[in-house]
Amino acid sequence: MRKFLFWFITFIFAFIPLYPKFPLFNISGTFVAVRLEDILIAIAIFLWGISVILSGSLKDLVNDRLNQAILLFFFVGIVSTFSAIFLTHSVVPHLSFLHFLRRVEFILLLPLVVDVVKKKSQLITVLVVLALTVLAVNLYALGQQYLDFPVISTSNSEFAKGLILRLTPGARVNSTFAGHYDLAVFLTMTITILTSLFFVLKKRFRLPVIILGGLSLFVLVMTAARQSFFAAFAGMMLVFVLANKKKYIFLFVVATIVILLYPSQLRDRLVSTITVNLFQQGARYQGKTQDQQIRSKLNIPTLAIKTSSQSASASSFASPSGKLATDIAPGEPVNTTQLGVFRSFEIRLNIEWPRAIEAFIKNPFLGTGYSSIDIATDNDFLRSLGEVGLLGTIALILVFVEIGKRIFLAFKSDTKLIRFFSVGVFSMMIAFLINGLFIDVLEASKVASLLWLMLGLGLAAGQI
């Protein structure tokens, strides 16, 4: 059974990143669908549960401190869901319950992998499969950009039905991840791990790793995800420091500066972040008519307001030249890149983050329940505080602290592979959490599943 589970979980390691986000069946009230990978994970967890019971190791599992932290997190999740349904009335019951189950599904992958991967050869097998998977993901991303490969996206409710799309001009690649941010987070994880493994490999394997890492970095730049680029930088720096390879830091910093200087969407967005978001610079749209100027001050800006008929009839937002965004409002940057960066930050600052803080205020201990603060908060820490309150957030922190401590211990392993892989996994975890400052990474199904799988692999490596 364990052997079968190992191959099954190895298959899942490859399947999750590679299988596009086609919905299997939809849930009323949300455009988040149940997908094939959910079924596969459920089967894996079910089989593992049976094997645990049959082998009589359930008691040992429950007595494990990390598993206790995970169980505590689930317990608070259940109490929070109950409170959200019956006390704060802040959720649709079936949605909240399914969102809770999603967390259970993702996190249980961790003890499963720890329990199944027991040998160094198994660890190497999984790493080889992962490397090939990363290569396929990157090649598919290039195919989307240059060869018009199909795009599956979940960025809105219509796309999430499983529409086959093509990349439009200026759109960013997402490969098999259905969202460019998700792909960027995956590549952040990949690059961090590859950096650490580079130091373990024999010379003949180093070139393929450099090529794979370079390709991943190239695709990461194509996603133009600023936060993930920064997280990858932090993750790699941490690898150099923890692996005691400080002489690479200077080279790495120079390479990063070169990448940032090279013209790309990423560079433009980074510059706009500083000029628009931090220093409020850039030309702003003033509104062509009195009608637009007044309307933009209403909390329902689509309402027709009382101005001159001439003003109202001239209130088209789209410019004939097409240089202005068709939906631009007065006060927003005129430049389209700046506009995207401006909105990206304003949505977080004025809508998503305050919504999470308000949820936290309503119930500081338990939050207002899973699914209560809409589909995105774009900050996992605020989201956690809003959804499961202080208690749920502390429980989750305990899980990460315990994982971090255990992986840290493996830094002293006698086996070089395990030592460096542990450094990579630890750095990957930190990079992942940095991503969580501006993206909901712990809820993004593909990368969240992969995080727990990789952390499980890191812990399993420490026990080999």
């Binding site: 505590l72 429980a395 305990l398």
Partner: protein
């Protein structure tokens, strides 16, 4: 620490079970108003009440803050949370017109949502084309306010308190082992 936890839990229980309003009719009607009997208002959906009046947001929300505090017997007012008007379809009922929506809440207790639909500014000038006054019972009103109260029963509050207390206890014990 044990004593601190026991005192904290006891105070939390008292706070959560403290008597307060149990239904929408426990709240006062808006002064100088006509009660709405339109479909879904006041008479059909439990704990919803609608009022037509000339009271604007600056008066309405503080009025219900004071009224809620009075009903809850607390020495401090409920917290005001400002929501987007479109959330009125969820918090009040579907198809509710809205230009503002505020939630008055005592954390870990009940919420009173105050929704206002104001087609006019307080000086009487219209906010948008097509704005019309509400003609009710021979009166002509500038605004409509719809309230929805979300009470919860005492057993639910007790179970949530129990869940919180147990969670704190487990977190403390495990936290000491891990950190």
């Amino acid at each position: 620490m044990k004593l601190f936890f026991i005192i904290f839990s006891a105070l939390l229980l008292v706070y959560m079970l403290w008597p307060g309003p149990g239904k929408i009719s426990d709240f006062k009607a808006l002064p100088q108003s006509d009660t709405s009997t339109l479909s879904g208002d006041t008479v059909q959906i439990p704990n919803v009440a609608g009022y037509f009046s000339n009271n604007f947001r600056e008066f309405v929300v503080p009025f219900y803050v004071a009224n809620y505090q009075q009903q809850a017997y607390f020495p401090f007012p409920p917290i005001r949370i400002n929501h987007a008007p479109e959330y009125a379809w969820t918090a009040i009922k579907k198809y509710t017109d809205s230009t503002y929506l505020e939630e008055l809440v005592y954390p870990l207790r009940d919420s009173l949502y105050v929704n206002g639909f104001e087609p006019f500014y307080s000086d009487g000038s219209s906010k948008f084309w097509g704005a019309t006054k509400f003609a009710v019972n021979g009166h002509s009103w500038f605004t409509k306010v719809t309230l929805r109260f979300y009470p919860s029963n005492i057993i639910v509050k007790f179970l949530v308190w129990l869940g919180i207390s147990l969670s704190i206890l487990f977190t403390y014990k495990l936290g000491r082992k891990i950190i």
